[in-house]
Assembly symmetry: C2
Homo-oligomer: 169 residues x 2
DNA sequence: TCTTGTCCTGGAGTCAGCTCCAGCATATAA
DNA sequence: TTATATGCTGGAGCTGACTCCAGGACAAGA
């Protein structure tokens, strides 16, 4: 069973142009052509391309994915290299996840901030009277809120975010 | 206490040019100038800019952060709008985190794949004999590996990734 | 035979988010 | 007083990842 570029684009949820762009960029050296020069994709190709899309989602630049693909073509001698490359991206990815979870904690804090301000009708319930500076007790009040609503446990799942308090404001 | 653009750049870990770019883009309307036209940043400004950097880390486009800042300037009437905006970004962010965790599961699988292949010396230990196709039992073998090394629990923390098996290959 | 649909290539255009530069203005230190 | 550091503006340039377009090829159906 083989597929045309249009079918693959449909299947993977990317545009035809994107696939051609990936091909130009050296990501698809394994794709064959038929007698009139059209790309012909196998099931295996589609599997590989899912991997590529996955790496893309993880924020790996196209040029580096190309490196990986090039290593693949060189065979078993590059198995360790490929492993190392993935390990490196795992670390990058972990960092990204941690950053985003951090940001999520911050965002939740801000939501609470605006929720309570909206209920009160004025943002200045959070300010030191007569200023535009945020009251320093706000952090503890938020922690209190998390505790009483039982959300602290949920946040604690974000095990890497030990310092989410530091990121606020 | 006030700070120059260079000090702020240093403090926040971004370039001076980036700060000026943010200013041009309307993200820093609150920053004052001194008598000779240089930007003067207060502690409060730096706090706000941390927020901006945080939103940036979460993948929020500069133009939308500018919208948020503009709402802020309009005062209490926009509290609900600001809350809504954050809520929306919370959802985006959750999606991003889920995607990355998904990719992480995939990456770990691939690492195992290459680790074992490296140990064996050939990638073809994972292939159907005589082909370049991956053996279908590989998924179960990997699950087995996760179980015996007690890593399945760790993966299960990624509560949103119920279908990580689907993403492999 | 003509139309429609899908594909091809090379190359130009777009967009976000910076990054760099020329040319100029202070401030401080030697 | 001169050198060095730091800042300013407007605008050009760059990078990554597409996205679009002109001009052309072929296949199948009406």
């Amino acid at each position: 069973m083989t597929y045309s570029i249009g079918q693959v684009a449909n299947e993977l949820g990317v545009s035809i142009d994107t696939i051609r762009y990936y091909d130009k960029a050296g990501l698809l050296p394994f794709v064959q052509r038929n007698s009139i020069g059209r790309r012909v994709f196998t099931d295996n190709d589609i599997h590989l391309m899912r991997t590529i899309v996955c790496l893309k989602n993880a924020g790996v630049p196209v040029a580096e994915i190309a490196t990986f693909i090039a290593l693949r073509l060189k065979g078993d001698a590059t198995l360790t290299d490929r492993y190392q490359l993935l390990k490196k991206h795992e670390q990058d990815l972990q960092q990204q996840i941690t950053d985003l979870q951090d940001t999520m904690s911050y965002l939740k804090f801000k939501e609470w901030y605006y929720q309570t301000a909206t209920e009160a009708g004025h943002e200045n319930i959070h300010f030191v009277p007569g200023t535009n500076e945020v009251r320093p007790e706000l952090d503890q009040e938020y922690d209190q809120y998390l505790k009483t609503t039982g959300q602290l446990d949920e946040l604690a799942r974000f095990a890497n975010v030990k310092d989410y308090r530091l990121r606020r404001r």
